[in-house]
């Protein structure tokens, strides 16, 4: 059974700050996004990409996913960012302003060319497109299916609200439709959905509320701006013990149903059928990824034989 790759927390690390870069091994987030875009002043674009390259070349014993946010491909830095950092083997590229599928296709082609040049397997470098404008939201259903390299869609609320010429609020009503569309696009393509940053690092309650909301909507993770935000996000994404217990009961119940030759059974007065089982399996896989349980799920028992 396919395992879930946890991407609850993707922490931004400024690309031009050695003190932050060299802490990457000790941050306990699921992944980092080393930033060459907004965190780097225009005068330092050249120096930041060299610093990131030299850091990654030395940081070979990696314990988390390493992505690099390059500058947009239509800027004068985007291509040079790729040329400099790809030889240092990041896991993937976060592509800003992924407004159209064509932009992602262009990155896909460039990555293939670099892979050939570097003699690494085609498809090695993954892509995380940032959906961060009205146009990006409209096109994200196609963007999600552009390339096998795309493992998730990332929603960027700061740029999105700027493109709508509105304020971003802490309650996020203005983001609801866009977030939902990004989740649909991702789920329909069978990939993950990563929510935007929460920029007020002193408001842990606000972060908690927002994370609970986006988890409910279907996001599987969040971009973060400060390591202090990691624990809050992990706690919200961890399955609750009672959810896990119930999921285990569901799986047991459906096994009994299979033995009796039926696909539906009652558990504590509630009907258990295929969608319920599917959700339970998802909970158990997530719990497994969190190290809460260690069980083998037998698909044939759960979903039945043909």
């Amino acid at each position: 059974m396919a395992e879930i790759k946890l991407r609850r927390s993707l922490l931004y690390v400024p690309g031009n700050m050695p003190s932050m870069l060299q802490n990457i091994p000790i941050f306990h987030c699921d992944g980092v996004i080393i930033d060459l875009e907004d965190a780097v002043p225009l005068s330092e674009k050249d120096a930041a990409r060299v610093l990131v390259r030299r850091f990654l070349e030395n940081h070979t014993d990696r314990n988390k996913e390493v992505l690099v946010r390059i500058n947009p491909l239509d800027s004068k830095w985007g291509y040079d960012d790729l040329r400099e950092v790809l030889p240092a083997m990041p896991d993937g590229i976060r592509l800003p302003k992924a407004d159209t599928p064509e932009i992602v296709e262009r990155l896909d082609t460039l990555l293939t060319e670099f892979e050939e040049e570097l003699e690494v397997p085609i498809g090695h470098f993954r892509i995380l497109p940032s959906i961060e404008s009205a146009q990006g939201v409209i096109n994200c259903i196609k963007t999600a299916r552009t390339s096998d390299r795309v493992f998730a869609l990332a929603f960027g609320a700061e740029d999105y609200t700027a493109s709508l010429e509105i304020e971003r609020t802490k309650t996020g009503e203005e983001l609801f439709h866009a977030r939902t569309r990004v989740v649909w696009a991702a789920k329909a393509a069978g990939i993950q959905a990563i929510d935007s940053i929460f920029s007020d690092v002193n408001d842990m309650e606000g972060l908690q509320r927002e994370t609970a909301l986006i988890k409910t909507l279907g996001f599987t993770g969040k971009s973060l701006v400060n390591p202090r935000q990691i624990d809050v996000v992990h706690e919200i994404f961890a399955p609750k013990q009672e959810e896990v217990d119930y999921a285990l009961q569901v799986v047991e119940a459906i096994k009994r149903a299979r033995e009796m030759g039926t696909g539906v059974i009652s558990l504590g007065g509630k009907m258990v059928d295929a969608p319920v089982v599917k959700r339970a399996v998802r909970v158990l896989k997530t719990a497994g990824a969190h190290g809460m349980i260690d069980i083998e799920l037998d698909e044939e028992v759960i979903y039945g034989q043909e």
Binding site: P18, D46, A47, V50, L51, R54
Partner: protein
């Protein structure tokens, strides 16, 4: 690589360094560091290695180090040299 103009690279943040490079008739290397006593020989070795690799034989290189690790010394010096080799 030919050093054509006076440039700098890096920052004064901790774990970073500033590198100042300008044209000179010969190779001059000056190092200031918060950890000069323990690490001057290592910083100097790293600087020489990068200068050799980029074939820089004539330049004045001044470094103010704030406890940077090897990768950062290499990166900042490399950035300074690349900047110095282009027309401003």
């Amino acid at each position: 690589m030919e050093i054509r103009r006076k440039v700098q690279a890096g920052t004064m943040q901790s774990s970073d360094l500033m590198v100042f490079v300008e044209p000179a008739e010969k190779l001059i290397i000056e190092i200031e560091s918060t950890v000069i006593k323990q690490f001057e020989h290592l910083i100097r070795a790293k600087v020489s290695e990068v200068l050799d690799r980029l074939e820089v034989t004539r330049a004045a290189v001044r470094i103010t180090d704030r406890g940077a690790l090897d990768y950062a010394i290499e990166a900042r010096l490399e950035s300074a040299l690349r900047r110095a080799a282009t027309e401003g």
